[in-house]
Amino acid sequence: MRLDADILQLAVQLDRADVEALRVCFRGRQYRAGQTVFREGEPGGFLLLVSEGEFTVTTRSAGNASSVIGRVAAGELCGEMALIDPAPRSATVTARVDTIAWELGHDALEVLRRNAPGAARAVVQASLRTVAARLRRLGERVDREALT
């Protein structure tokens, strides 16, 4: 596990105190291949920064069929939507292979906001970047939908 290097994936311009604050707040988690990380509809209150391995993201359609909508690779975030706007999980996440990730809970983010705003800002900005990228991909899906 290489927490410092993973934290720097969030923002390379963090100062030493911010890195230290994130080091304290992130918790290491290990998932076996096939293990469910969280399920669609469950209350969500943490994000995960993948260190090694990969997650698979699935959702259930109206017919209750499960379909893979994405993968989360090392250096990428998942679960950030629920951290920013607490609401039930919008997708189910499972470990595709043995995976190591860093977990940051909602309470820990509040602690960071009060004590290390630069670190909190890095987490929110990285989350925003992830959400913005998903919005762009969704927009491209809408384009394809409009063409069919």
Partner: protein, 501 residues
């Protein structure tokens, strides 16, 4: 026993002395020159020795170009331009000693791996664009940019290090070498030649011709194919280039983002005026596609600090009239309400406020997004394709700019006289050091809006996908809302699902 003259004709053998160098092995040979790995005998330093073919050494123009290549590259002294350490003539063979690189050409990578993802491509090409920009700054045009001239050197610990090669047909503007190419001589590699290079001849070229070639490289590396191809007839290929109108990269590789399409097609515009004003602007548009680390490395060079783009300048100095805004007027924006006075004073000091009349443009689709706008009063109409949506006071327009600085995906036109506060992305970054709580609140608000927009839009797309016949109007509005977060889906036709933001 063979003499050095025979060797020069046939090539040099390993162990042979060549002035201060000892030949180690031949790396390769082309139409103009051979390249050897060699060792500087006194310094024991390994170099790449490029020797001009002996029969070409008799042609003064070729020798002059060879010398010019060495001078140009050494004059640039750029970390992503191949370094030249020595130049001379040995046994009537002109040579130059260059950095010895281990790695491979971008062309080989493309051949082996196929189309490269936009992120990897941006990571590889931003350093090259920086090198080309450095050349342009010194009045040097490369004129033969292509994947074969971009070398990805392997550096221990630091991974791939892109290096720009071959200034062999470069042109120095206003320099003493301007007569090296005849005006009617067609130099370069046809698929990478710009329309003006094809149509107007050498005298008409400028930095935007190199930019066109970078556009071809971006297109080829992202799709695996050239924008224009005709393997049978070069004249037909040149006619295709002159005519323009290639398909967008995403038509070939559907996963490529539209914003990437926009920047590549802009660099490939037939009319030079329609391209980016400089390769720095091209780099600026490409920067958001790079990985976070590479973005951080190149933020200073390709950031927006030094040269605001025309659309922004228009928003600041064109339609908008500078006005003074009271702190209380900021209360309409949720993340600014009830912030402490000192923080808001500092925000007002760095974010210019203006009053913009109805009908005026605030920002335009496909231009680089370098700032967002807080709409304090009035109304703005957001447009994308046929979709229209009115945004009222209290919203943040173009918020994606604070994160990525990608190309705008919608156009904003003032509908009812508006008062806006414009916050530049770089200013925001520097403000975050002195006002972390305020900038944190702005980011929190933008993140909240983006998350809710993503949730709403995902649900709506699912509904529309299931609802049978296509509903183009709803899809167009949905597309607008994913492009511009200030547009709420609740204001479109259809049921409201969540509280509007």
């Amino acid at each position: 026993m063979t003499g050095i003259g025979d060797a020069a004709r046939r090539g040099f053998e390993p162990g042979m002395r060549f002035g201060r160098y000892e030949i180690v092995r031949r790396i390769g040979s082309g139409g103009m020159a051979s390249v050897y790995e060699a060792r500087h005998v006194d310094l024991a330093k390994r170099v790449a020795l490029k020797t001009l073919h002996r029969w070409l050494a008799l042609r003064a123009d070729v020798v002059q170009r060879f010398v010019q290549e060495a001078r140009t590259a050494s004059r640039l002294d750029h970390p992503h331009v191949l370094g030249i350490s020595d130049i001379g003539v040995e046994h009537e063979v002109p040579f130059m000693a260059m950095d010895l690189l281990e790695g491979e050409e971008l062309a080989h990578v493309l051949h082996r791996e196929g189309p490269l993802p936009a992120t990897r491509l941006a990571d590889l090409l931003l350093p090259v664009i920086s090198a080309v920009a450095a050349a342009h700054e010194q009045g040097i045009l490369h004129r033969d940019l292509k994947p074969e001239n971009i070398f990805l050197a392997r550096r221990r610990l630091r991974g791939e290090h892109p290096v720009l090669l071959d200034f062999g047909i470069s042109k120095v503007r206003d320099g003493d070498t301007s007569g090296l190419t005849a005006a009617d001589e067609l130099l370069g590699t046809p698929p990478y030649m710009s329309p003006e290079q094809v149509i107007d001849g050498m005298a008409e070229l400028d930095a935007r011709s190199d930019q066109y070639a970078l556009g071809v490289i971006l297109y080829e590396c992202s799709t695996g194919d050239l924008p224009y191809r005709n393997d049978d007839s070069i004249p037909d290929l040149l006619r295709m280039i002159a005519r323009g109108g290639t398909r967008p990269p995403s038509a070939r590789v559907s996963t490529l983002p539209r914003a990437f399409d926009a920047l590549v097609l802009r660099a490939l515009s037939v009319a030079r005026e329609a391209r980016f004003p400089s390769v720095i602007e091209l780099g600026r548009a490409l920067l958001p596609f790079a990985s976070p680390l590479v973005q951080a490395v190149w933020a200073e060079e390709f950031g927006a600090r030094d040269s605001p783009i025309p659309a922004l300048a228009k928003a600041r100095r064109g339609p908008g009239v500078a006005v003074t805004v009271r702190r209380s007027e900021l209360d309409v924006i949720p993340c600014l309400a009830e912030r402490d006075d000192a923080a808001l004073d500092q925000l007002l000091a760095v974010a210019p406020a203006s009053r913009v009349a109805a009908g005026e443009l605030l920002f335009e689709e496909s231009t680089t997004a370098t700032s967002c706008f807080f709409l304090l009063a009035g109304e703005v109409e957001m447009r994308r394709g046929d979709a229209r949506s009115t945004v009222r006071a209290g919203r943040i327009l173009g918020g994606a700019a604070l994160d990525s600085g990608a190309l705008r995906e919608a156009t904003a036109v003032v509908r009812v006289d508006a008062t806006v506060l414009e916050l530049d992305r770089d200013v925001f970054a520097s403000l975050s050091e002195s006002q972390p709580a305020l900038t944190g609140a702005i980011l929190d608000r933008l993140a909240l809006i983006a998350v809710r927009r993503l949730r709403e839009a995902s649900i709506r797309l699912e509904e529309l996908s299931r609802s049978g016949p296509r509903r183009p109007r709803e899809l167009a509005h949905l597309r607008l809302a994913t492009a511009e977060w200030s547009v709420s889906l609740d204001e479109s036709a259809g049921p409201s699902r969540r509280r509007p933001l």
